[in-house]
Amino acid sequence: MPAPSFFEWLSTSPIANAMNGPEWAFPVVESLHFIGFAFSIGTIAIMDLRLLGLLLRRQPARELARDLNRYTLFGLGLMLITGPLMFSADAVAYHNNPSFQFKMVCLTIALLFHFTLHRKATQSSGAWTRFAGALSLLLWTCVVAGGRMIAFV
């Protein structure tokens, strides 16, 4: 199936109808997206500041990662459910929105990085763990910035 027809189908699917139906649907889902945002990027920022040596230095990074992990995953899960729901409400427009495309590229890189090198950095020590913390902050900042710009492009 060619890509555009998939997005056209999605924007007329039952999910899109539900999102575009009652007036409160989109705001409620978007609010949940923001709660997930506080959980995920909030706890990732704590972890990154620890990797940079700016916070909770007495607690080993490995231990902190274990403490925060479930909240990060909960937040990411909530975002990855509510995000596609919002996307489906106006799939073709989002698909063509440069800010949205930028966000998706950054999100893909940020997620790949988070579950590979970033995770490894929380389990080890050395100068590159600082670099991993800084890079993670930068990647997630790009995701947020891209998301914020969607409404303005």
């Binding site: 916070l55 403490d67 925060l68 947020v144």
Partner: protein
């Protein structure tokens, strides 16, 4: 000066016009507002979860609260300053928005929360290391509810106008 005249005056200032009409300032300040929410909100979440006994049990309450304090203040300051700039850009729209007034009411309750609980919970964490009091749990639960409400009502402002 009536409220409407005051709001009109705010919108006529150079700063207000620049944020409202420029292509970049509004989304950039909005982005800073969001990033500050992540910084402040994430730490608030973990502080209150620690007080509820749900997270980070491996370290004492006093250490968690002390370590997060500086960053939380920095995040809070960024949220407030960026929020004021956003409000300065379109005060008339906000004045008409029910969600904005709900948000401000919740913000006032955050102040009340601080007056009630600050000295006995958040500034008294040494005593909580030996056992978390019921009062501290109530403070944490209310704090989470208030800030969740602030996030949701803040987001809903966009749908009022």
């Amino acid at each position: 000066m009536t409220v409407h005249a005051a709001l009109e005056w705010i919108e006529s200032t150079g700063l207000s016009t620049a944020i409202r009409e420029g292509a970049l300032p509004y989304p950039i300040i909005g982005g800073v507002h969001l990033l500050a929410i992540a910084l402040f909100g994430g730490m608030l979440l973990m502080t209150d979860f620690r007080l509820l006994g749900w997270a980070m049990h491996r370290r004492p309450v006093s250490e968690i609260v002390r370590q997060f304090q500086g960053w939380k203040r920095f995040g809070f300051l960024m949220v407030v300053v960026s929020g004021l700039l956003l409000a300065w850009a379109e005060p008339q729209k906000l004045y008409r928005s029910p969600a904005f007034w709900i948000k401000m009411a919740l913000f006032a309750l955050v102040g009340v929360h601080a007056l009630v609980f600050r000295s006995r919970v958040y500034a008294n964490t040494g005593a909580l290391d030996s056992g978390i009091t019921a009062e501290a749990r109530v403070a944490a639960a209310l704090s989470l509810i208030l800030w969740a409400g602030l996030i949701v009502s803040g987001r809903l402002i966009a749908f009022d106008a």
